[in-house]
């Protein structure tokens, strides 16, 4: 195998993190060689703590020693620092604004509601379920008939922002009765199409792994 050209990239990550998975997918889509460091979140490395002293979190991208933090910021950085690679964001300013708006929505709503769902069981789940179903339907509305959220641009920024959460969909059903295939069938179909891409299937957690992980966490919290 030919040696990969070193472009000075290091990704500090945890394979558990959907935010980190976004970065791995983006690097794969762009064909960018990089060193990958799997962090133990219970015993964070000096490098991680030095690189991200404010949040002490993964993912962190290092490029020739300079630090870039926050997954969506990392994705935009990769577009801007490596303009000869496949772009993640479209070129039209309005389409870019829409991609950024919806990626922010994914962070606020999908992650926000999803992480709250983890913690509850029984009665309080009902409003959170309805909220999550609403969020999924809204995203489906944005997808419309497109193959990917990127539309004519193809699999892109917003697809990558959302896809790591798509393997949570099965867990939404198993633990909280939110059946994505019923509530948002086009979104479920989109998720399946994304999984056909090697960049995605190699980097996201399988639905089974997510389900096991959530099950374990809920047991630890005394919920199950």
């Amino acid at each position: 195998m030919a040696a990969e050209k070193n472009v000075g990239l290091v990704l500090l990550n945890s394979s558990l993190s959907p935010f980190g998975q976004r970065c791995s997918i983006a690097l794969a889509e762009k064909g960018l060689p990089h060193e990958y460091v799997e962090e133990d979140l219970a015993a964070k490395s000096d490098l991680l703590l030095r690189s991200n002293p404010i949040y002490k979190q993964v993912p962190v991208l290092l490029h020739d020693g300079r630090t870039i933090i926050e997954s969506l910021i990392i994705l935009q950085y990769l577009d801007e620092a490596f303009p000869d690679t496949r772009p993640l964001l479209p070129t039209d300013p309005y389409e870019r604004a829409q991609a950024r708006f919806w990626a922010d929505y994914v962070d606020k709503k999908v992650y926000g509601c999803g992480s709250r769902l983890y913690m509850i069981k029984g009665e309080p789940q009902v409003p959170a379920n309805i909220e999550m179903a609403g969020i999924l339907k809204t995203l489906e509305g944005e997808l419309g008939e497109k193959e990917f959220f990127g539309g004519e641009h193809g699999f892109g920024f917003l697809d990558i922002a959302l896809v790591p959460f798509s393997t949570w969909f099965e867990s939404f059903d198993k633990f909280w009765g939110v059946g994505v295939a019923e509530v948002a069938p086009k979104l479920a179909a989109w998720a399946a199409r994304c999984m056909e891409r090697e960049s995605v299937s190699k980097n996201v957690f399988s639905p089974e792994k997510v389900s096991d992980f959530i099950g374990e966490m809920r047991k630890d919290l005394g919920i199950e």
């Binding site: 300079r66 870039i68 910021i73 935009q76 950085y77 300013p93 870019r96 929505y105």
Partner: protein, 228 residues
């Protein structure tokens, strides 16, 4: 053919202000459609249905762009004029990172709770947290006139809430968080920012702002309760 540019917003909101300043920095004429947030217009609700009519929304011809930071980037990319974000990719990433740091998840949450949390101990705790965060910004600013250098840039616009609206809230809440003795750099920056020609014309009247906040304290405390 000119395409009409409008901002649906209110000068009571520092977020809405970001949209106005971005357009002014770029030299783009626009109309402000002032909203009463207790009585939102059909236009606003239609233009930002996803977030229930949150301001600001930028209207450019037939396009509606909500979310203030998304608006700043759109204005930078869609219109010709001096750049708002820095040119270097790493500097752009850093500016975006600091803007996120201000976000209601982080610094503005700490500030809000320091101002409006019901419990005095909680207010004290969040005041210390907010000061720790402000110290990071003080260090980031250093000796520079603005965060972006000699002129106003992306992060100065993103941080504008700290330059004016925060002081009005401090006055109403009767608490001092970003004080001159602890944050001389940030206070100097705040004066420079609000005195600039670009910004002066779109600041709300101070007395009206303070009066508006004074009338809203119950609402603010409710938001604080939900945030804890």
């Amino acid at each position: 053919m000119s395409e009409a540019v409008k901002v649906i917003g209110t000068r009571f909101s520092a977020f809405s202000h970001r949209a106005e300043v971005a357009l002014r920095l770029k030299g783009v004429p626009y109309e402000l459609i002032a909203e009463d947030l207790d009585n939102k217009s059909e236009l606003l609700l239609r233009s930002n249905p996803v977030h229930g009519g949150k301001v600001p929304v930028l209207l450019h011809s037939d396009r509606a762009i909500p979310e203030s930071l998304v608006i700043i980037e759109y204005v930078d990319e869609a219109f010709a004029g001096p750049p708002i974000l820095p040119m270097d990719p790493h500097d752009r990433a850093a500016a975006r990172f600091w803007a996120e740091f201000l976000d209601p998840k982080h610094l503005w949450r700490q500030l809000w709770l320091a101002l409006w949390a019901a419990d005095a101990d909680a207010r004290r705790r969040f005041r210390e947290e907010a000061k720790t965060s402000l110290a990071l910004l003080e260090a980031e600013l250093g000796d520079r006139r603005f965060f972006a250098g000699d002129g106003i840039g992306y992060f100065d616009v993103a941080a504008s809430g700290l330059a004016y609206w925060l002081a009005a809230m401090e006055e109403v809440a009767g608490v001092s968080i970003m004080a001159d003795d602890e944050f001389p750099g940030l206070c100097r920056w705040a004066k420079e920012y609000t005195a600039s020609e670009t910004v002066k014309g779109c600041l709300p009247d101070w007395d009206e702002l303070v009066a508006g906040y004074a009338a809203s304290t119950e609402k603010f405390k409710l938001v604080a309760q939900q945030g804890l």
